[in-house]
Amino acid sequence: MSYPAGSLVRVRAGDPDHHTRVPGYVRGHTGEVVAVLGRWALPDDRARGITPPRVETCYAVRFSAADLWGSGDHTVTVDLWESYLDRP
Protein backbone atom coordinates (compact mmCIF):
# COMPACT_ATOMS: atom_id res chain seq x y z
CA MET A 1 0.00 0.00 0.00
CA SER A 2 1.42 3.38 -0.88
CA TYR A 3 -0.06 6.81 -0.50
CA PRO A 4 0.69 9.50 -3.09
CA ALA A 5 0.56 13.16 -2.04
CA GLY A 6 -3.05 14.22 -1.61
CA SER A 7 -4.14 10.84 -0.18
CA LEU A 8 -6.20 10.76 2.99
CA VAL A 9 -4.81 8.38 5.59
CA ARG A 10 -5.88 7.34 9.06
CA VAL A 11 -3.29 6.76 11.78
CA ARG A 12 -3.62 3.40 13.53
CA ALA A 13 -5.15 3.91 16.93
CA GLY A 14 -3.33 1.20 18.86
CA ASP A 15 -0.79 1.83 21.60
CA PRO A 16 2.02 -0.63 20.88
CA ASP A 17 3.96 -2.14 23.78
CA HIS A 18 7.26 -1.15 22.16
CA HIS A 19 8.99 2.02 20.98
CA THR A 20 7.22 3.82 18.15
CA ARG A 21 7.36 7.23 16.50
CA VAL A 22 3.60 7.75 16.41
CA PRO A 23 2.79 10.66 18.72
CA GLY A 24 -0.23 9.86 20.87
CA TYR A 25 -2.11 12.95 19.75
CA VAL A 26 -2.54 11.79 16.13
CA ARG A 27 -3.58 8.20 16.84
CA GLY A 28 -6.91 7.40 15.21
CA HIS A 29 -6.98 10.74 13.36
CA THR A 30 -7.27 11.25 9.61
CA GLY A 31 -4.85 13.49 7.75
CA GLU A 32 -3.63 14.27 4.25
CA VAL A 33 -0.30 13.17 2.79
CA VAL A 34 1.55 16.36 1.80
CA ALA A 35 4.92 14.82 0.95
CA VAL A 36 6.47 11.40 0.36
CA LEU A 37 9.76 11.76 2.22
CA GLY A 38 11.79 8.62 1.57
CA ARG A 39 12.23 4.94 2.45
CA TRP A 40 13.82 4.49 5.83
CA ALA A 41 14.24 1.78 8.46
CA LEU A 42 11.24 1.49 10.79
CA PRO A 43 12.21 2.86 14.23
CA ASP A 44 9.93 0.31 15.96
CA ASP A 45 12.10 -2.49 14.55
CA ARG A 46 15.41 -0.73 15.10
CA ALA A 47 14.59 -0.06 18.75
CA ARG A 48 13.83 -3.74 19.29
CA GLY A 49 17.05 -4.85 17.63
CA ILE A 50 15.19 -6.59 14.79
CA THR A 51 17.67 -7.16 11.95
CA PRO A 52 17.17 -6.31 9.29
CA PRO A 53 14.51 -3.77 10.22
CA ARG A 54 11.59 -3.24 7.87
CA VAL A 55 12.31 -0.42 5.44
CA GLU A 56 9.20 1.59 4.66
CA THR A 57 8.11 4.77 2.97
CA CYS A 58 7.75 7.68 5.36
CA TYR A 59 5.11 10.34 4.69
CA ALA A 60 4.52 13.88 5.92
CA VAL A 61 0.86 13.84 6.97
CA ARG A 62 -1.04 17.05 7.71
CA PHE A 63 -3.79 17.25 10.33
CA SER A 64 -6.09 20.13 11.18
CA ALA A 65 -5.91 21.46 14.72
CA ALA A 66 -9.71 21.57 14.88
CA ASP A 67 -9.74 17.81 14.28
CA LEU A 68 -6.89 17.03 16.71
CA TRP A 69 -7.87 19.33 19.55
CA GLY A 70 -11.39 20.53 18.87
CA SER A 71 -10.13 24.08 18.39
CA GLY A 72 -7.42 26.06 16.66
CA ASP A 73 -7.01 27.28 13.07
CA HIS A 74 -3.52 25.87 12.44
CA THR A 75 -2.31 22.62 10.92
CA VAL A 76 0.17 20.11 12.33
CA THR A 77 2.24 17.98 9.96
CA VAL A 78 3.72 14.77 11.35
CA ASP A 79 6.09 12.30 9.65
CA LEU A 80 4.66 8.78 9.73
CA TRP A 81 5.92 5.46 8.36
CA GLU A 82 3.65 3.39 6.14
CA SER A 83 2.73 0.72 8.66
CA TYR A 84 1.41 3.44 11.00
CA LEU A 85 -1.25 4.25 8.42
CA ASP A 86 -4.41 2.83 6.88
CA ARG A 87 -6.86 4.12 4.33
CA PRO A 88 -9.61 6.01 6.16
Partner: protein, 196 residues
Protein backbone atom coordinates in the same frame (compact mmCIF):
# COMPACT_ATOMS: atom_id res chain seq x y z
CA UNK B 1 27.93 29.27 37.92
CA UNK B 2 26.83 25.66 37.85
CA UNK B 3 28.82 23.35 35.63
CA UNK B 4 26.97 21.24 33.08
CA UNK B 5 28.15 18.08 34.88
CA UNK B 6 26.23 19.10 38.01
CA UNK B 7 22.84 19.11 36.30
CA UNK B 8 20.54 16.15 37.03
CA UNK B 9 20.09 15.67 33.27
CA UNK B 10 23.83 15.20 32.86
CA UNK B 11 23.83 12.52 35.57
CA UNK B 12 20.92 10.75 33.88
CA UNK B 13 22.68 10.94 30.54
CA UNK B 14 25.84 9.46 32.04
CA UNK B 15 23.87 6.59 33.59
CA UNK B 16 22.32 5.88 30.19
CA UNK B 17 25.75 5.94 28.56
CA UNK B 18 27.02 3.51 31.19
CA UNK B 19 24.15 1.13 30.45
CA UNK B 20 24.92 1.28 26.72
CA UNK B 21 28.58 0.58 27.39
CA UNK B 22 27.79 -2.26 29.81
CA UNK B 23 25.50 -3.83 27.21
CA UNK B 24 28.31 -3.74 24.66
CA UNK B 25 26.36 -1.42 22.35
CA UNK B 26 28.85 1.46 22.41
CA UNK B 27 32.15 2.51 23.90
CA UNK B 28 33.06 5.80 25.56
CA UNK B 29 35.31 6.53 22.60
CA UNK B 30 32.48 5.95 20.10
CA UNK B 31 30.11 8.21 22.04
CA UNK B 32 32.74 10.95 22.26
CA UNK B 33 33.55 10.63 18.55
CA UNK B 34 29.83 10.82 17.66
CA UNK B 35 29.32 13.97 19.73
CA UNK B 36 32.44 15.56 18.27
CA UNK B 37 31.18 14.87 14.76
CA UNK B 38 27.70 16.11 15.66
CA UNK B 39 28.85 19.47 17.00
CA UNK B 40 31.97 20.16 14.92
CA UNK B 41 31.18 23.20 12.77
CA UNK B 42 27.49 23.09 13.80
CA UNK B 43 26.24 26.67 13.80
CA UNK B 44 23.16 28.71 12.89
CA UNK B 45 25.47 30.73 10.65
CA UNK B 46 25.33 27.78 8.22
CA UNK B 47 21.54 27.85 7.95
CA UNK B 48 21.60 31.65 7.74
CA UNK B 49 24.02 31.57 4.80
CA UNK B 50 21.72 29.15 2.96
CA UNK B 51 18.67 31.34 3.59
CA UNK B 52 20.47 34.51 2.47
CA UNK B 53 21.55 32.75 -0.72
CA UNK B 54 17.95 31.61 -1.33
CA UNK B 55 16.79 35.22 -0.91
CA UNK B 56 19.21 36.42 -3.58
CA UNK B 57 19.31 33.46 -5.98
CA UNK B 58 15.95 32.08 -7.23
CA UNK B 59 17.58 28.93 -8.62
CA UNK B 60 19.12 28.17 -5.22
CA UNK B 61 15.77 28.81 -3.50
CA UNK B 62 14.17 26.25 -5.80
CA UNK B 63 16.88 23.68 -4.99
CA UNK B 64 16.63 24.41 -1.25
CA UNK B 65 12.90 23.70 -1.23
CA UNK B 66 13.13 20.65 -3.53
CA UNK B 67 16.25 18.90 -2.19
CA UNK B 68 17.58 20.27 1.08
CA UNK B 69 20.58 17.95 1.23
CA UNK B 70 21.71 18.94 -2.26
CA UNK B 71 21.29 22.63 -1.38
CA UNK B 72 23.27 22.20 1.84
CA UNK B 73 26.01 20.42 -0.10
CA UNK B 74 26.07 23.20 -2.68
CA UNK B 75 26.63 25.70 0.15
CA UNK B 76 29.54 23.67 1.52
CA UNK B 77 27.62 21.96 4.36
CA UNK B 78 27.45 18.36 3.17
CA UNK B 79 24.77 16.36 5.01
CA UNK B 80 24.85 12.57 5.34
CA UNK B 81 21.54 10.99 4.30
CA UNK B 82 19.42 9.02 6.82
CA UNK B 83 20.86 5.73 5.52
CA UNK B 84 24.29 6.87 6.71
CA UNK B 85 23.19 8.10 10.11
CA UNK B 86 22.41 11.62 8.92
CA UNK B 87 19.15 13.28 8.06
CA UNK B 88 17.05 14.52 5.17
CA UNK B 89 16.68 18.27 5.21
CA UNK B 90 13.17 19.54 4.51
CA UNK B 91 12.94 23.30 4.12
CA UNK B 92 9.56 25.00 4.50
CA UNK B 93 9.09 28.54 3.23
CA UNK B 94 7.22 31.31 4.99
CA UNK B 95 5.04 33.58 2.85
CA UNK B 96 2.47 36.31 3.27
CA UNK B 97 -0.09 33.52 3.73
CA UNK B 98 1.76 30.93 5.86
CA UNK B 99 4.11 30.99 8.83
CA UNK B 100 5.94 27.74 9.60
CA UNK B 101 7.22 26.62 12.99
CA UNK B 102 9.24 23.52 13.89
CA UNK B 103 8.89 21.32 16.96
CA UNK B 104 9.83 17.79 17.94
CA UNK B 105 7.19 16.49 20.34
CA UNK B 106 8.89 13.12 20.84
CA UNK B 107 12.36 14.44 21.71
CA UNK B 108 14.20 17.51 20.39
CA UNK B 109 15.24 16.75 16.79
CA UNK B 110 16.27 19.50 14.47
CA UNK B 111 19.06 20.05 11.91
CA UNK B 112 21.91 20.52 14.40
CA UNK B 113 24.65 21.01 11.80
CA UNK B 114 22.79 23.96 10.22
CA UNK B 115 21.22 25.50 13.36
CA UNK B 116 23.83 24.70 16.01
CA UNK B 117 23.03 23.05 19.37
CA UNK B 118 19.33 23.41 20.14
CA UNK B 119 18.26 26.02 22.71
CA UNK B 120 17.06 24.80 26.10
CA UNK B 121 13.50 25.94 25.49
CA UNK B 122 13.32 23.85 22.30
CA UNK B 123 13.77 20.75 24.49
CA UNK B 124 11.31 21.87 27.17
CA UNK B 125 8.05 20.02 27.77
CA UNK B 126 6.22 23.36 27.57
CA UNK B 127 7.44 24.22 24.06
CA UNK B 128 7.01 20.66 22.78
CA UNK B 129 3.48 20.20 24.08
CA UNK B 130 2.11 23.70 23.51
CA UNK B 131 3.45 24.36 20.01
CA UNK B 132 1.29 21.68 18.39
CA UNK B 133 -1.74 22.78 20.40
CA UNK B 134 -1.64 26.60 20.56
CA UNK B 135 1.16 27.84 18.29
CA UNK B 136 -0.30 31.33 17.96
CA UNK B 137 -0.05 31.83 21.72
CA UNK B 138 3.47 30.35 21.85
CA UNK B 139 4.64 32.57 18.99
CA UNK B 140 3.14 35.62 20.67
CA UNK B 141 5.25 34.84 23.75
CA UNK B 142 8.31 34.88 21.47
CA UNK B 143 7.20 38.31 20.27
CA UNK B 144 5.86 37.05 16.95
CA UNK B 145 2.38 38.53 16.60
CA UNK B 146 0.82 37.21 13.41
CA UNK B 147 -2.37 38.60 11.90
CA UNK B 148 -5.24 36.12 11.78
CA UNK B 149 -4.92 36.14 7.98
CA UNK B 150 -1.58 34.29 8.26
CA UNK B 151 -2.08 30.54 8.62
CA UNK B 152 0.24 28.67 10.97
CA UNK B 153 1.79 25.42 9.82
CA UNK B 154 3.45 23.37 12.58
CA UNK B 155 5.93 20.65 11.61
CA UNK B 156 6.44 17.89 14.20
CA UNK B 157 9.80 16.33 13.48
CA UNK B 158 9.13 12.63 14.15
CA UNK B 159 11.26 10.98 11.48
CA UNK B 160 14.66 11.02 9.78
CA UNK B 161 13.62 14.30 8.17
CA UNK B 162 14.84 17.49 9.87
CA UNK B 163 12.99 20.71 9.20
CA UNK B 164 14.27 24.24 8.72
CA UNK B 165 12.18 27.35 8.07
CA UNK B 166 12.98 29.65 5.16
CA UNK B 167 11.90 33.03 6.56
CA UNK B 168 10.56 35.76 4.30
CA UNK B 169 13.08 38.42 3.31
CA UNK B 170 12.35 41.57 5.32
CA UNK B 171 11.16 44.65 3.49
CA UNK B 172 13.80 47.35 3.09
CA UNK B 173 16.69 44.94 2.56
CA UNK B 174 16.72 45.23 -1.24
CA UNK B 175 20.12 46.93 -1.24
CA UNK B 176 21.85 44.27 0.85
CA UNK B 177 23.94 41.43 -0.54
CA UNK B 178 23.82 37.81 0.64
CA UNK B 179 26.66 38.28 3.11
CA UNK B 180 24.95 41.19 4.88
CA UNK B 181 21.56 39.50 4.71
CA UNK B 182 22.95 36.42 6.46
CA UNK B 183 23.77 38.50 9.53
CA UNK B 184 20.07 39.37 9.94
CA UNK B 185 18.94 35.74 10.20
CA UNK B 186 18.65 34.17 13.65
CA UNK B 187 18.42 30.61 14.88
CA UNK B 188 14.89 31.36 16.08
CA UNK B 189 14.04 32.53 12.56
CA UNK B 190 15.19 29.15 11.23
CA UNK B 191 12.96 27.38 13.80
CA UNK B 192 10.03 29.72 13.19
CA UNK B 193 9.91 31.38 16.61
CA UNK B 194 11.08 34.66 15.05
CA UNK B 195 10.14 36.27 11.75
CA UNK B 196 13.79 36.35 10.61
Amino acid sequence: MTGHEDLPAAARTRRLEERLIAAGLATDEEIDAFLTRLYANASPVNGALMVARAWTDPGYRELLLADGNAAAGAAGFALAPPEDGGYQLQVVANSAQVHNVIVCTLCSCYPVSLLGPSPGWYKSFAYRSRTVREPRAVLAEFGVALPDSVAISVWDSTSEARYMVLPSRPAGTEALGAEELATLITRNGLIGTALV
